[in-house]
């Protein structure tokens, strides 16, 4: 089966990065979001990011050629012919559930669904469809085009065939992968969200500034980014939503979001994408 027709649902930071990476690795992409306005902003971001790709990798791509491989749409009906779907919708169970119900009706029976979710279990997402064996998790990292590895999550019902197709696409995308079993937050975010939340508590308690918290992790542990820089890059709204999913899933108070995180999200300080989080960022990110 040719795997060159891939739909990307959601044109936020992650969906845009996934669409860019797919197009840069020879795939034809259909990018869907609710509004044309969001999709046009995504095209602008892709143009900028494709250009800057060279700065980090030395690999040169023509932004116009990459954009030509990414068709945009607001209509689910356009997804009828795609071979594979990568979903990147906001970390909200009800929103995602609605998307999977739509996809299940529109897409062909052979089409697999991969969720780029931060914490919602894949088995739960699969339960919104009539094809639980064809639902899998691909946890991409931001920025998608530059990060070499992804976390692949097998739901309870995910078939070996779905896993094999997914591995093939990831190889085509030049991504290494680690396959793990299903759990809220999987491996990476179950650990990362706790660390980020605790770092935010340290700032809230005035134990250290965000700059110093991050410097300690970089200088002492050799991390390339500190936990608060990482949180800013992911988006503080996504961090909050992920913690809420983990808190709900485990009923364990260790996942209770720090009040400062809630306040920052309510204030619109969402991190790099809004220009301000624990650090400040200039220009249009």
């Amino acid at each position: 089966m040719p795997l060159d027709q891939i739909a990307v649902i959601g044109a936020g930071v992650m969906g845009t990065g996934v669409a860019q990476t797919l197009a840069q690795t020879g795939h034809k992409v259909l990018l869907l979001d609710r509004s044309l306005n969001i999709l046009q902003r995504a095209q602008e971001k892709i143009t900028r990011d494709v250009r800057m790709h060279q700065l980090y990798t030395g690999q040169k791509f023509d932004p116009d050629q990459i954009l030509a491989e990414i068709k945009i749409t607001t209509e689910y009906g356009d997804l009828a012919g795609v071979d594979y779907v990568m979903e990147n919708v906001t970390e909200d169970w009800l929103l995602k559930k609605e998307v999977y119900q739509q996809l299940d009706i529109i897409c062909s029976q052979d089409c697999c669904f991969a969720s780029d979710t931060s914490a919602i279990p894949i088995t739960r997402l699969a339960s919104a469809t009539s094809r639980q064996d064809k639902v899998i998790g691909i946890h991409f990292m931001n920025p998608v085009a530059l990060k070499p590895m992804v976390e692949v999550i097998k739901g309870v019902h995910t078939s070996d065939k779905t896993l094999a197709i997914t591995k093939r696409i990831l190889q085509q995308m030049n991504k290494k992968y680690i396959v793990v079993n299903d759990s809220p937050g999987f491996v990476s975010n179950r650990v990362l969200m706790l660390m980020v939340n605790e770092a935010i508590f340290l700032v809230a308690e005035n134990i250290a500034s965000p700059q110093d918290v991050d410097k300690l992790f970089k200088g002492c542990f050799g991390h390339s980014m500190g936990p608060l820089e990482t949180a800013d890059l992911i988006g503080l709204d996504t961090i909050l939503n992920s913690l809420l999913v983990l808190y709900d899933a485990f009923n364990d108070s260790k996942f209770k979001p720090c009040p400062l995180l809630k306040q920052m999200v309510h204030a619109g300080f969402l991190g790099k994408k809004s220009g301000r989080g624990f650090h400040t960022y200039g220009g249009n990110n």
Partner: protein
Amino acid sequence: MYRDTIRTFLKNYISDSINDDQDIFSGGYVNSLFATQLVLFIEENFDLTVESEDLNLDNFKSINAINFFIAAKKDGKR
């Protein structure tokens, strides 16, 4: 020549004092993704276009490197 403007911009992101030759990327002062913001800042503030052949981290790694790059672009030497 352009160092003051570059320093002012970098101060928004780097709290430590850095000398003009210090490598801001390998020194861990900023993560490498900051280069995108830096390039956009240079284009907007100095009214020049960073061409695809200019997109090399070496051109943006220190205050002196950035200053040299902008001066060369302004002189039409790049």
